[in-house]
């Protein structure tokens, strides 16, 4: 038991000292193979559950974070970060829930073309990234969220996106012909229109 206590202390110290989340593998390297890392983390998380600092599992591993309910008290003197535009929030949601998703798909879902600054903001925040190309004519870029996105919003994985199971169950994550059929008007231009990019064309024009 005393050995387990020492292991707990060491994990606690490692996670406090580490500048980034540590995976169970990284912890196992430090503690030795015989340590039951999962059980130790569970116990430690339990110990911190009600405290002002919590032990949380993120996509990158385990780390300590201040308790979410203290947000208001902690925020008082900190500068409030710039708010995202509605377009940026919607675009982020589309990328997060539909990834991998092309620019044309984002535009089809939102019904407007993407203004130049919108993706830039999300890229600048480090929340989205282009990842490979879709093997369709024009080979448009696929967009996905980043590990930093998960860390920023405190998510262990994409499965933890709010309401994603329900959206899946109700078919609202299926794009299908309803969006890409040529029976609806094309996406409208957003306030600041984009120059047409040759490899990312909007869905075909309506043939009504």
């Amino acid at each position: 038991m005393s050995e387990r206590n020492e292991q707990l202390r060491l994990i606690e110290a490692l996670l406090f000292a580490a500048p980034a989340p540590l995976t169970e593998d990284e912890l196992a390297l430090r503690l030795g193979e015989e340590a039951d890392i999962a059980s130790l983390l569970r116990e430690l998380a339990g110990h911190y559950a009600e405290r002002g600092v919590n032990l949380v599992a993120l996509s990158g591993g385990w780390t300590f974070r201040t308790a979410a309910d203290l947000a208001a008290a902690l925020r008082s003197e900190r500068t409030v970060p710039r708010r995202l535009s509605r377009a940026a929030v919607e675009t982020l949601a589309v990328i997060a829930y539909h990834q991998p998703v092309t620019r044309a798909e984002i535009e089809a879902i939102r019904g407007v073309t993407l203004a130049r600054g919108t993706l830039d903001r999300l890229l600048e925040a480090g929340w989205v990234q282009p990842k490979g190309r879709r093997e369709v004519p024009g080979r448009p870029l696929n967009w996905t969220t980043t590990p930093h996105f998960l860390a920023h919003f405190g998510l262990a994985s994409l499965k933890e996106l709010p309401g994603i199971e329900e959206l899946k169950a109700t078919g609202l994550l299926d794009l299908g012909p309803a969006v890409f059929g040529d029976n609806l008007p094309p996406p409208a231009d957003e306030a600041e229109p984009d120059e047409a990019e040759p490899d990312e064309t909007a869905p075909d024009a309506a043939d009504d």
Binding site: V94, A96, R110, G111, V112, G154, N183, P187, A188
Partner: protein, 249 residues
């Protein structure tokens, strides 16, 4: 019409679909049971009001208005029976409803995302992590060859060595030409050029010299019409054979 409650300005909307969604919310019914017909009416009335107020209307909103007017007429008239492939009016309406649901789902999802505790806004990482010290332990890489080579360099520098340059042996083109002349009529089939190198020059450093000289000689003979040369690909083997029947001039 309840659009009086809405801002009479299109600047507040993220495009026609967003406007439609806002109008649909005015119906205060589940999007699953929305009346697309009523929604089309609302939209058209909204656009008409904009026109009446001489407000600028972006083309996209007008495209949607035209499309909704078309949809409305389709919904009110029976589907033309002759075309099975074109979507029915009900299918068009359902496609639009689905699209509204998709956008609404994403708007809700975006709001839910933003409501999550965010790092640096709501929750904070440790402000001054000590960091995990990593002690670098150097592992020196050196092979025995490098060690011996270094000793050789050092030894040579100190003790010196007489540099003897052996007389270089090479095959002159004239020699190669002479050799080839003797056999030029006796090669009816394609044979590799390599086979005509002098026996003692087929290996080692002399090979290049012999190959170059022999090749140059074959070019000479080909030029004078005594040999044919063939190479199937770049850097591939070179073949030669005798020209059996003398060409008529």
């Amino acid at each position: 019409m309840s659009d009086a409650a809405l801002v009479l300005d299109l600047d507040g909307y993220e495009g026609p679909i967003d406007l439609l969604l806002a109008l649909a919310r005015e119906q205060k019914v589940d999007l699953a049971r929305i009346s697309i017909l009523a929604l089309a009416d609302q939209y058209l009335a909204f656009i008409a009001e904009q026109r009446r107020l001489h407000l600028e209307i972006a083309a996209d909103y007008l495209v949607m208005a035209a499309w909704l007017a078309y949809l409305k007429s389709r919904l009110l008239l029976p589907d033309p029976p002759e075309d099975d492939t074109a979507p029915s009016a009900a299918e068009l309406a359902e496609a639009l409803a689905h699209r509204l649901r998709l956008l609404e789902a994403m708007q809700r999802a975006g709001a839910s995302l933003m409501a999550l505790p965010q790092l640096g806004r709501d929750v904070f990482a440790r402000g001054a992590p000590e960091g995990l010290a990593m002690i670098d332990r150097p592992v020196f890489e050196l092979s025995l060859y490098e060690l011996l080579k270094a000793y050789g360099d050092s030894h040579r520098r100190q003790h010196g060595q007489t540099l003897t340059i052996p007389p270089s042996t090479y095959q002159a083109m004239s020699d190669a030409l002479e050799r080839l002349m003797q056999i030029v009529g006796q090669v009816p089939e394609w044979r590799e050029l390599i086979a005509f190198l002098p026996e003692e020059m087929r290996g080692g450093a002399m090979r290049r010299s012999a190959l170059a000289a022999t090749f140059a000689a074959t070019l000479e003979l080909a030029k004078s019409g005594q040999l044919e040369l063939r190479q199937d690909r770049v850097f591939g083997p070179i073949y030669l054979r005798s020209v059996t029947r003398p060409e008529a001039e």
